[in-house]
Amino acid sequence: MSAAPALESETLLRVEGLQTWYPIRAGVMQSRVGWVQAATDVSLELAAGRTLALVGESGCGKTTVGRSILRLETPQAGRIEFEGRDLLELDAEELRAARQRIQIIFQDPMASLDPRMRVRDQIAEGMRSFGIGANENERRDRVASLLERVQLDPDTMDRYPHEFSGGQRQRICIARALAVEPRLIVCDESVSALDVSIQAQILNLLRDLQEELDLSYLFITHDLSVVRYLAHDVAVMYLGKIVETGPTESLFRDPAHPYTQGLLAAIPSIDPLIRGGAPPVLGDVPSPSDPPRGCHFHTRCASVMDRCRVETPAMFAANGRASRCFLSEPGGEDEGGA
């Protein structure tokens, strides 16, 4: 693994203009009648050893982005540069080799493990694919040490997934991902299905592993409190587009985009002195197959202006922060809505 100390963290992953749309087919001939615009014009950057949180509510496209990076989905356009090479340009063999460096941990610990395979075989499966470990015994030892590292008893390696609890299964998934020595792990809602007390354990584990192994995480979640704890940088998504990016603390303290503001304000606080007032974001999410014209958030935005209904804002960047909103446009704009 990387032993050379980097003065400036290398950019491990750079996504530019990613577009992944799903065709909607209907009719006898199953012709395409429309598109589910799951992810549009998505750009982000992740440096080695750091965590980028991709945040949004259901249907915003964050899972699609995660899966596209692993090429478990097929994007229509864009670049996904990993370790300097565009993953979308690779052929099958090269892709397979590249897959060793990017792994994924899913949300549902039950569906993530094959119920009919022993745990040790599942952890070793990746090792076998990529030729890690010279023989069965060596792989067995590695499985044991991986289980220890995720704080599970190595003697349980011959058991089946249903004999473990949800939190333990998630640890097994982490061990499986670590087995092939990746540099980037996509965590797709990896702690969302866990109880709060177990969640804390897994989050600590992920943090420790990041420090030990110089891992990068693309942490996909809808839970903003987890984001604040784990992520260095945040990208907020709404209806398929990234609406705001920036370092975590800065974004949380001073969100620029109205959706981010609404998202943060909607989280129920456990501070007994704070009780919510009116809900910050009204209405329902529009359908991704027919997003609103102009700024796609304008139908629910408290600060909507006339131009928002017709013009589509670009990402306006300043001081390491960026926001897809006319209110953030540099050089004067109408404050205070229409």
Binding site: I104, A111, D114, P115, M117, G126
Partner: protein, 342 residues
């Protein structure tokens, strides 16, 4: 090299037994299957033992060898290949009908050659009905087993392929299934058997070709579901190739369906053969044929009931036992039990 049929049959039986041996070894090694087997045993001992009994009889009737025929036996050729079951009943032939445990012939009242020894009577050719019933076991097992061995792999090939790879292959399979399903099954069966000629193999092939559609649909649907599960995506992300994913992740998770389908299909096939026998194109020596022969017998006065009684009971016994075990297997192998955490 011209292999005599009985030697070929012996070899095939041996191979099947070895195959079963491997299955048993696998079940003993794999903890999930072992526990399922144990649960099944604890719930359905009687049914399992019954099936076991039929199996034992079938196996005993499957190895034939030549020679060893006593001199005074006249109804078989001296060097005909005979099985153990055959030999047990050697030389018990009567002239014609006799009632169970009777001392005299049914028509005419002549004393029997072996009075009081025929537990279930004799048929029109004087053959012991118990002997015929026992021989029918092997035929039934053959029909159920061999046909399933044809139908299930066929169904898996098309079903899993269509479900996993989708696209044109899926369209083709769908077309195939729809076409086959819209043909009247019985007519198709009759046509195939007429074309291929009568005989055990043709019947098995014909039955196999007409009964794979149901399981094909089922395995396609299940594969579609499994394909979307996250552990399949995880395997892909771990660099496992598509064929390996199908082999290592999809098929083992279809195994419970295969077992259930096999057991439940079995009884349907045996019953189908009975219908074919009634039409005169079934397999020789089957219970169906015995029942078919009873059409005459039941219209006689006084009626001859022991032929159809024996064959019907034997058939009923096997089907009931197999279905009982099959239901229990379906419960025991329910994958939902694999989703509960302790």
């Amino acid at each position: 090299m011209n292999v005599e049929p009985y030697i070929a049959s012996n070899v095939v039986t041996l191979v099947l037994l070895v195959g079963v041996g491997f299955l048993v070894a696998f079940v003993r090694r794999n903890r999930l299957w072992r526990e399922a087997a144990r649960t099944l045993w604890s719930r359905r001992k009687v049914a399992i033992l019954t099936v076991g009994l039929y199996l034992a009889i079938g196996v005993l009737d499957s190895f034939a060898w030549k020679g060893g025929v006593p001199e005074d036996v006249v109804d078989v050729l001296p060097n005909a290949p005979l099985t153990l079951v055959d030999r047990l009943f050697l030389g018990t032939r009567e002239a014609s009908y006799s009632a169970p445990l009777a001392e005299i012939e049914f028509y005419g009242g002549q004393p029997l050659r072996h009075p009081g020894t025929h537990l279930l009577g004799t048929d029109i050719l004087g053959r012991d009905v118990l002997y015929l019933s026992l021989k029918g076991a092997r035929v039934a097992l053959l029909i159920g087993g061999l046909t399933s061995l044809i139908a299930i792999p066929l169904a898996l090939l098309f079903g899993v392929g269509a479900g996993y790879f989708g696209g044109r292959f899926d369209d083709f399979v769908f077309f195939l299934i729809s076409t086959l399903a819209s043909m009247p099954g019985l007519l198709l069966l009759i046509t195939l058997i007429m074309v291929m000629g009568r005989g055990t193999l043709s019947v098995c092939v014909a039955l196999g070709v007409t009964s794979w559609v149901g399981f094909c649909r089922l395995s396609r649907a299940e594969t579609l579901k499994l394909r979307e599960l996250e552990y399949v995506s995880a395997a892909r992300a771990l660099g496992v190739s598509e064929p390996a994913i199908v082999l290592r992740h999809i098929l083992p998770n279809l195994a419970h369906l295969i077992v259930i389908t096999f057991v439940l299909m079995f009884s349907g096939l045996v019953l189908s053969e009975a219908v074919l026998s009634w039409l005169g194109i079934g397999v020789d020596g089957s219970w169906g044929q015995m029942i078919d022969g009873a059409r005459d017998e039941l219209s006689r006065e006084p009626i001859i009931w022991w032929n159809i009684g024996a064959a019907g009971t034997a058939l009923f016994g096997l089907i009931l036992a197999v279905n009982t075990v099959g239901d229990a297997i379906r419960d025991v192998l329910d994958p939902r039990t694999l989703r509960d955490s302790p």
